[in-house]
Symmetry: C2
């Protein structure tokens, strides 16, 4: 997330900005002192998957900060030019090399503190091929009783895994919306 | 959406940027030629509601561009510091003044062409109070057979309304994910 008031210069003309409430708006925005351009700062989407092989889920051990060395579901920032599902698939391939087929949207988690919305899709692994990318130390499958609950990188990952195993036991996958305080 | 390559100056130091692929990345990013800061451009979320009163849905006629004069569901850009649901509620109040109680997430629509994800929640109107804000010419309730299908502002609104009435007839509301080409 961009820290608040981090836009000091206009992205078009380079002149200094200051934070003012534009006409017909209700919150301060970085406004160019020369050309008047208003710069908006908005939450970002993180998209990923829960890759499933039989009774196991694929986790990746992070090779990058934050949370280097901890386990995560494959996920990353959504890019321009792709859908949420395409981004989730791209991140899965980049981080694990897994061959997957996307199933439905599973969780939408608001992480207001960092200005992010995390979206996880369920994904069916088509085979056992793995080829972790540079952001991943190691990718491997875990049964529910093997999940390293104390070494998960993010609360959105923990909540998504918890709901996944809960729904799997119940025999029905819903779409879940949660807020992470 | 930011047009591609629209970041010409660094937001921190104001020096010119150029678009380069950073190390360990795979697409060009606006990179400051002086301090090296990398600027990311990502899709934005638009959040809104389907406000419902008995067999009617609340629409707002737009007082602003784009699509001035056309009808829309209350919605707008998600802001930092709020959840998707809080943003949807805020936009509903700002644009219509309606008193609503949010129900579940209803649609997630990718609009790749403009770098947006639209999220609509179902909302129950608590009374008939309306007080349209400056972005709305008029807010009123429509039964299904009164919906101005040819005067709707956005395809995401049309698809959300279509699915809403379909689900209402079926007696069950699901969460729908769609891509708008």
């Amino acid at each position: 997330m961009l820290p608040v008031r981090s836009i000091c210069h206009c992205r078009v003309c380079g002149a200094p900005t200051d934070y003012r409430v534009p006409p017909d708006d209700n919150r301060p925005r970085a406004t160019c002192t020369a050309c008047g351009l208003v710069h908006y700062e908005n939450p970002l989407n993180v998209v990923g998957t829960v890759p499933v092989w039989q009774d196991q889920v694929l986790l990746c051990r992070r090779a990058i900060e934050p949370r280097h060395g901890l386990w995560t579901l494959p996920a990353g920032f959504m890019e321009l030019g792709e859908t949420t599902a395409e981004g989730a698939l791209r991140e899965t391939v980049e981080e694990s090399g897994a061959h997957v087929e996307l199933e439905g949207l599973f969780t939408l988690l608001n992480v207001v503190r960092v200005g992010q919305v995390h979206l996880f899709y369920r994904a069916r692994m088509l085979d056992l091929h793995l080829d972790p990318g540079p952001e991943t130390l190691e990718a491997r499958l875990f049964r529910e009783d093997e999940i390293p609950w104390d070494e998960l990188a993010f609360r959105t990952v923990r909540e998504t895994l918890r709901l996944f195993f809960e729904n799997r036991r119940a025999g029905q996958y819903d779409v879940h919306t949660l807020d992470i305080a």
